[in-house]
């Protein structure tokens, strides 16, 4: 609790980071609590296509006269779940194997590093596109799995480099001298010192996962049903809604929802970097 308060106090001096945090909380609350309060409304109304914003439709209506505001409330949850799970998976892989390689060294380290280098070189987006096309990812869990399973290599290298420098410190030497075991050294001595770094990387991994999944959905390669900001953009594009002047509020809503959520995540991440990496203070 005190740690949280300390953290918020630190963040207070960085308005951009604070705004990012508030933005994230707002988006998460709207996307997870909103659907509990507002029932899903997919009522088609062909007399009200591309209706302008009004009291009944705060963000106007789509190409079938459906309420856009309702879709925005319902459409964030899956995107956030996929982003969270994918970031979790890639961070866990990167942290586990990156620190394992750095601490154990030798053949284990070389093998991990070789595999990482190979996967790092394969262009991720074309690979995702090919995989999505062949696997027909019609579940958000599989989508999260694939996105996360390809996102870890650069973080692994960064974690490994950090652990390599941390493991030469006295407190790790002491733990080794006391024969506290590999698990203790990694999880109790080294990783707690990298908390902030891992947190920042996790947030950035989420932004990448959002980019990848919304992009795949936009291309129409992920046959998802249900309300989703990505699906909204895809439908607006393939149904040609983009090309009607009246459709502006409809097309802007999901675009801004994704862009602002990304922006909030990036703002928080860079403020955290600023706080925990004073070496770079003022550089960015």
């Amino acid at each position: 609790m005190t740690a949280t308060l300390d953290f918020l106090r630190l963040l207070k001096s960085r308005p951009v980071g604070l705004a990012g945090l508030i933005g994230i909380v707002l988006f998460v609350v709207v996307s997870f609590v909103g659907p509990l309060l507002v029932p899903l409304d997919t009522k088609v109304d062909l007399t009200a296509i591309y209706a302008p914003p009004s009291f009944a439709h705060p963000l106007g209506t789509d190409y079938q006269g459906r309420d856009v505001f309702n879709q925005i409330i319902w459409g964030g949850r899956d995107i956030m779940i996929v982003a969270f799970l994918a970031a979790l998976l890639s961070t866990v892989i990167a942290v586990t194997f990156g620190s394992l390689g750095a601490v154990v060294g030798g053949a284990v380290d070389s093998t991990i590093l070789a595999i990482t280098d190979v996967i790092l070189t394969i262009p991720r987006l074309p690979l995702l596109v090919v995989l999505a096309a062949l696997l027909r990812l019609n579940s958000i869990l599989i989508l999260a799995l694939i996105v996360g399973a390809l996102a870890w290599p650069s973080l692994l290298r960064a974690v490994r480099a950090q652990v390599l420098s941390l493991k030469e410190r006295e407190f790790v030497e002491a733990a080794r001298a006391l024969d506290l075991g590999l698990g203790h050294i990694i999880f109790a001595e080294i990783l707690p010192n990298m908390r902030s770094y891992i947190a920042i990387s996790f947030i950035l991994a989420m932004t990448q996962a959002i980019y990848a999944q919304a992009g795949l959905i936009f291309l129409g390669l992920v046959p998802l049903s249900g309300t989703n900001w990505g699906v909204m953009i895809n439908l607006a594009w393939v149904r040609g809604a983009v090309f009607f002047r009246d459709s502006l509020p409809y097309i802007l809503s999901p675009v801004l929802a994704i862009a602002l959520f990304q922006l909030a995540l990036v703002s928080l991440a860079s403020a955290l970097e600023d706080i925990f990496n004073p070496r770079l203070r003022g550089a960015a």
Binding site: G105, G106, A114, D117, V118, T121, I122, P123, L125, P126, L127, V129, V130, L131, A133, L134, T207, I210, Y211, A214, G215, F218, L219, L221, I233, W237, V242, F243, F244, R245, L248, I251, L252, V255, I258, A259, Q262, L263, V266, S270, L280, G282, A283, A284
Partner: protein, 360 residues
């Protein structure tokens, strides 16, 4: 770097192991050889991967294609097999490991099979037709974003904490955090539809109808007309990263002792920024530029899709949509090979530019 275990091994093992060990570790220590092995391994892994997904996975494209021939064109299974063999450049009647070996052999000779939909068009010919447009549009975008980015980065670093720095840095941070496809959509929506400043539909494609490629003013103007929105989108989304990298690199260079020494010697600020700071700050960016050059081919997938710009990214999307898997496989392999080659070059450039690396 030899670990203690290796050292111990070479110290006690019989002489032949010690020679082999020394050769092996000496080899691995050599940066250029290591980079070559890494590149070869990556290309091998990706080739094998595409073989596996196209040939071995349940419900793979070849099985689907054969099923389609049998049910829709009423071919016998043998005939369908023979047709598929020609299309995918894999003899399906032979054992799987022989197929694999001949697949790798074909790849080495540049034979990627032929398109399913456009009868008899070799995949290689298609790749060569679409490749130049992506190289042109994305390459121009990369060069522009690099030039603008390093100029802005140098400027903001030298005028650190000035109002200009704050405005430029914030704007580029905001713009580069927005996905490129959203920027592309916004350009279409505002410039093309709301304001009607640009004839979006006429700008689709790589050339206007009737324009013949050649060294004519008309052709060059038309090529830029069609590539302009993809280029602008690329520049908007990538300049911020170059700017921030250059800014950090410059700030680091400004703290170096040789800058202080140059100031102490009374050199002009202008000479210090160009000859001392700028030159050293840009060094690490050359490596990154080389790596980014490798990502040109696959880096504008969404942008090409949005502006219907017929480059490799568009070809990949289209082949997936039409289930033309030999093309999909070919584009993917080409994109990967270009990234691998660029990484290899980056490793070489890095060892050349910075003499501290690579001497092991």
């Amino acid at each position: 770097m030899a670990t203690t275990a290796e050292v111990r091994l070479t110290a006690t093992a019989p002489s032949w192991t010690s020679t082999a060990g020394a050769v092996a570790s000496g080899f691995w220590r050599h940066a250029i050889l290591r980079a070559l092995v890494k590149a070869a391994a990556t290309i091998y892994v990706v080739s094998t991967f595409t073989f596996v997904i196209v040939r071995l996975m349940p419900g793979n494209p070849i099985e689907i294609y054969i099923d389609k021939l049998v049910t829709e064109q009423l071919l016998s299974y043998e005939d369908a097999l023979a047709t598929a063999t020609g299309k995918f450049s894999v003899d399906l009647r032979r054992p799987i490991y022989e197929q694999y070996v001949s697949y790798l052999g074909n790849l080495a000779r540049g034979d990627l099979g032929s398109s399913i939909l456009s009868e008899g068009t070799p995949v290689t010919a298609l790749l060569l037709r679409y490749l130049p447009w992506t190289v042109f549009a994305v390459g121009t975008g990369l060069m522009l974003s690099f030039l603008i980015g390093i100029s802005l980065g140098l400027m903001t670093a030298l005028k650190r904490n000035s109002p200009t720095d704050h405005v430029v840095s914030s704007v580029s941070a905001v713009v580069s955090s927005i996905p490129d496809y959203l920027i592309g959509i916004l350009l279409v929506v505002f410039l093309g539809v709301q304001l009607r400043w640009l004839p979006i539909t006429q700008m689709r494609g790589v050339l206007s109808p009737g324009i013949q490629p050649g060294f004519t003013f008309e052709f060059v103007r038309d090529a830029f007309f069609h590539a302009s929105l993809p280029i602008v989108t690329y520049v908007l989304t990538h300049t911020g990263i170059w700017m921030l990298t250059m800014k950090n690199s410059t700030l680091a260079a400004l703290e170096e002792d040789y800058v202080t020494a140059a100031r102490a010697r009374g050199l002009s600020e202008r000479r210090i920024t160009t000859a001392y700071v700028g030159r050293n700050a840009i060094l690490p960016l050359f490596t990154q530029f080389t790596i980014s050059a490798g990502f040109i081919l696959g880096g504008a997938l969404f942008i090409e899709f949005i502006f219907v710009y017929q480059g490799l990214g568009w070809l990949l999307y289209n082949s997936i949509n039409q289930r033309d898997y030999p093309i999909m496989q070919g584009v993917f392999l080409l994109i990967t090979v270009s990234v691998v080659v660029a990484n290899l070059l980056a490793d070489l450039v890095y060892t050349k530019l910075d003499p501290r690396i690579g001497r092991g």
